[in-house]
Symmetry: C2
Subunit: 162 residues, 2 copies
């Protein structure tokens, strides 16, 4: 059993796994005559394989219990997957870098601050979506289309908050 | 001067212009062992032209005054553009169907209910983003890449709430 404490999510710590989507930390410029500030191109949307296309979906998720027992990680080899909270929801993230094996030393756990969304790079191992406290609603941008786009691997991980 | 009253946004009324993104009205199925309900593929993401790619960005917009005076509509011929409120923001929408001319008879104004996002079809004429009441933050999925992707046309439209 691997015991992890969830660390505060930062773009630097999440870099091996994907992007943090957050207007506080990004490149921006004014548009619409100055009425709008555009925080531009915050995530690398990856759509791989023949016939792939980007999807916009909403996930409505029930909250997890903490400590969070994770018995499986999954990856999507053909596309990235972005999650953005629609009502300030905080969520837990458990990830391992792309690769056919999961090295326990490389597994990381993070907690978001409610303002942050994330984008898993194609192939990044991750736990299923784990919202804290109460039911949550998330905007999801991922890949649709033919091809095998989900692998699962059993793990034994217990995640606590700090 | 065209005077319009903003109508409540519905998927049916918005169909000529694009998609309403809303978990209350969509096709869904359970995933993650039942912990999550996936409201699937809520918008047609269009990425046209050579070298186009989907972008995820955040728009932070200052509120408009009502009645809203609209002196210009714009369109993006090479891609769709989706706006999803990140904190329940309501916004005004002024649209006309794709085509080189804007027929005043075909212009429509809508108001969202705070839970709804929208996706403008490629080529749909629309006013710049118009959030009500207070500063708003929106997740935007649109197209990046080379090519001419914004046309503007002068109009004279005044939009009131009902």
């Amino acid at each position: 059993m691997l015991n992890l404490k969830a660390q505060p999510l930062t773009p630097e710590a999440f870099e091996p796994f994907g992007d943090v989507i957050d207007s506080r930390s990004a490149n921006s410029f004014p548009i619409n005559g100055g009425r709008t500030q555009r925080y531009h191109d915050l995530a690398s949307v990856e759509i791989l394989g023949d016939g792939g296309r980007p999807l916009i979906s909403i996930f409505v998720s029930q909250p997890v219990q903490v400590p969070l027992a994770v018995d499986c990680l999954e990856r999507h080899p053909l596309g990235s997957q972005a999650f953005i909270p629609l009502h300030g929801e905080q969520f837990l993230i458990v990830v391992a870098p792309p690769g056919d094996a999961i090295d326990p030393q490389s597994v990381r756990a993070f907690i978001t601050d409610g303002h942050q969304g994330i984008n898993y790079r194609a192939g990044t191992w991750h736990a299923v979506h784990s919202v804290l406290d109460h039911e949550g609603e998330f905007l999801v941008v991922d890949r649709g289309g033919p091809g095998h786009n989900c692998d699962e691997k059993p793990v034994e991980i217990l995640v606590n908050l700090e």
